[in-house]
């Protein structure tokens, strides 16, 4: 039982490049989330999903896209990377009403 798995752990992008951060969970949780954490700041919600085929914006969705084709996977897409997207990205999952289970995070640098 791996829990929530994020890949890659680290990535450096050039401005304008695109990439997908992968997130998968093996706990059959219906809810999944993407948060970002900037230095010295709390985590902020980017997007979330309450089930396969359903996604919604969080507090800071601009510059990102998500999809939820299966219960297990919730990838986060950056289309045109900008320096402002330099951050640590956390994926999480939960049952309704249960605590969040987090992945280990992806540290992204855009230069």
């Amino acid at each position: 039982n791996a829990g929530v798995t994020q890949t890659p752990k680290f990535r450096i992008l050039k401005i304008g490049q695109s990439m997908t951060l992968q997130c998968t969970q093996d706990m059959n949780h219906n809810y999944m989330y993407w948060y970002r954490q900037d230095p010295g700041m709390g985590l902020k919600l980017i997007y979330y999903s309450v089930g396969a085929g359903i996604t919604d914006k969080g507090e800071v969705p601009n510059g990102y896209n998500v999809s939820r084709s299966t219960t297990e996977d919730f990838p986060l897409r950056l289309e045109l990377a900008a320096p402002s997207q330099t951050s640590v990205y956390f994926c999480a999952s939960s049952y309704e009403g249960s605590p969040l289970h987090f992945g280990n995070g992806t540290r992204l640098t855009v230069t």
Binding site: Y31, G42, L45, Y48, E96, F102, G105
Partner: protein, 112 residues
């Protein structure tokens, strides 16, 4: 607007000393509050939630609606308590979806 404030970036105490990590929130309704912890090289995990009214690893947190606070306390700090601690508020109207507003986090350093 809903907000969570943790006023201290770093709290440094000696082993055996009492610990209080402060958390204040702004929310007009009945809040649902949590403390999450991230130990070195580990993932963020739930420490406790106020509705459970439980003590985990010796830590307790009491919701004070009058002062809009949810401070985390432990009477005698241990070196293994050194970690980053986040206070979080369940967003208004999110039901049980787990959409949380996090504070900035406090690093607790327990010195031997």
């Amino acid at each position: 607007a809903q907000r969570v404030t943790q006023p201290e970036k770093l709290l440094s105490v000696f082993k055996g000393a009492p610990v209080e990590l402060k958390c204040n929130y702004s929310y007009s309704g009945s809040p649902e509050l949590f403390w999450y912890v991230q130990y070195s090289r580990q993932r963020l995990q739930l420490l406790l939630r106020h509705i459970s009214r439980e003590s985990i690893k010796g830590f307790t947190a009491d919701l004070n609606k009058g002062e809009t606070s949810f401070h985390l306390k432990k009477p005698f700090a241990q070196e293994e308590d050194s970690a980053m601690y986040y206070c979080a508020l369940n967003q208004f109207g999110s039901g049980n979806t787990g959409k949380l507003i996090f504070g900035q986090g406090t690093t607790l350093q327990v010195k031997p």
